[in-house]
Subunit: 234 residues, 2 copies
DNA sequence: AAGCTTAAAATTGTCGACAATCGGAAAGGC
DNA sequence: GCCTTTCCGATTGTCGACAATTTTAAGCTT
């Protein structure tokens, strides 16, 4: 059984831990592209060529194809027949619709959560909030933004409705494509303030207030995105 | 250029209109399986074997695979590695979550629609409503159910938020997997009544009332599904 | 020089064969 | 007689090569 071609990926220590195939590979493709979008390394309109991805990246072409299909269904890329995948470009109307959908679903989650949140949930939110504030104070804007998204995602998860959680997570995932939030520092600041007040409202079991704060925050974000989208329509 | 193997699908008149490949083929797989589920020809737990689908059905194996992947992402089938696809079996908790998500999103849509609906939209809803009532009167339960789903889908579409429309459509699509509604006739009847009252409320621009009616309808449906799910858990 | 036609390069889409994996059935041991 | 182990059939997952399509670029005509 010791042999010349020793099932490469299993034996060689220099070989990477991950395989180039399987459901994991598809997942990796999705994650890498998503991260690239979140870091603005991929801009709206950029083409995603299968061969480049399967070469330079971490999977074979089939896994890349499946990953792109999933991203298309999630709405992060658009897949035109015989033309391949490109990063989506949202219209102002779509931006409004995305934020409205978040307002509705996160609002419902906050109302539920005000009644049902336990100490463990509170601790998780407070922890994220503290790290978000720290990242903001240290000027780590990217990390602050990431933690802000984690805050909203955690609210959904704690509310316990997996369907709505999945939906909102999709909406959050395409947030980096809505705009850079050039005024990053300021918007992060509003985020920290709003999240703090949201947690306070939740602890008072004041679901309506938590929802109202979150709605105002999302509307402010929407205004920023719309300003960017109309200012630089290229 | 006239030859022995004449690009089969293009020339032969006996050949089917559709090709066995392409994005259309994948779409066809999704549609056929969805319809089979809606007609209870596929029950929760049934296995979906790729070869059987690509043989008896209308696409090559690759299209079948992609179609199954999409159905899995939509939540209609579950895809276990190396085991293939099976029709999902929802837990009572998941049933609650699905209906709650519909209540939230359809409610928001109805509130918007009360303000913005024009005559064309009214006509579309009334038309569906009339056909639904006719189907119920004639005892065509399956068609009545289909039109009931169309009513809810059309409400979302008229409200104009594509994101929420897509989400609710997914939730509606898995309704046949929640239960048969053995009391089909009666639940269809409640549906017709509730939809009629919903349209009436919309025409009065009473969004809150429309939402309330719809919520009660969905909660009644949820109770039915839960009764079935707990009664016959096999 | 501008515009059209045609060829070639790049990219996606498709197919069949093979490899890996799982479930169950048969054989063997206690 | 029951449990464990091994093998086999069935099914999914993977890969490379080829076909179809689109885009790019050059060449030719006007």
């Amino acid at each position: 059984m010791d042999q010349i071609v020793p099932r490469t990926a299993d034996v060689l220590p220099s070989a990477p831990e991950w395989r180039k195939s399987g459901p994991e590979a598809e997942e990796r493709v999705v994650r890498l592209i998503t991260e690239a979008i979140q870091q603005n390394r991929l801009q709206p309109g950029d083409r995603l060529v299968e061969r480049e991805l399967s070469d330079g990246a971490v999977a074979n072409r089939q896994a890349v194809r499946q990953g792109l299909a999933r991203l298309a269904q999630a709405g992060l890329v658009v897949l035109t027949p015989n033309r391949g995948a490109t990063v989506v470009q949202y219209s102002p109307e779509t931006i409004r619709q995305i934020m409205q959908a978040r307002i509705v679903n996160e609002g419902a989650a906050l109302r539920d959560l005000a009644e049902t949140m336990d100490d463990a949930g509170r601790d998780r939110l407070v922890d994220i909030l503290r790290r978000e504030a720290a990242a903001y104070d240290d000027g780590r804007v990217t990390e602050a933004r990431h933690l802000s998204r984690a805050f909203h995602a955690t609210v959904m998860e704690l509310a316990g409705n997996e369907m709505m959680t999945r939906f909102v997570n999709e909406l959050i995932a395409c947030q980096p494509l809505l705009g850079n939030s050039r005024t990053g520092k300021q918007s992060s600041f509003s985020g920290v303030i709003a999240h703090t007040r949201t947690v306070a409202a939740l602890l008072r079991k004041d679901g309506a207030e938590a929802e109202a704060i979150n709605t105002q925050l999302l509307l402010a974000l929407e205004r920023e995105f719309l300003r960017e989208a109309t200012a630089e329509p290229g």
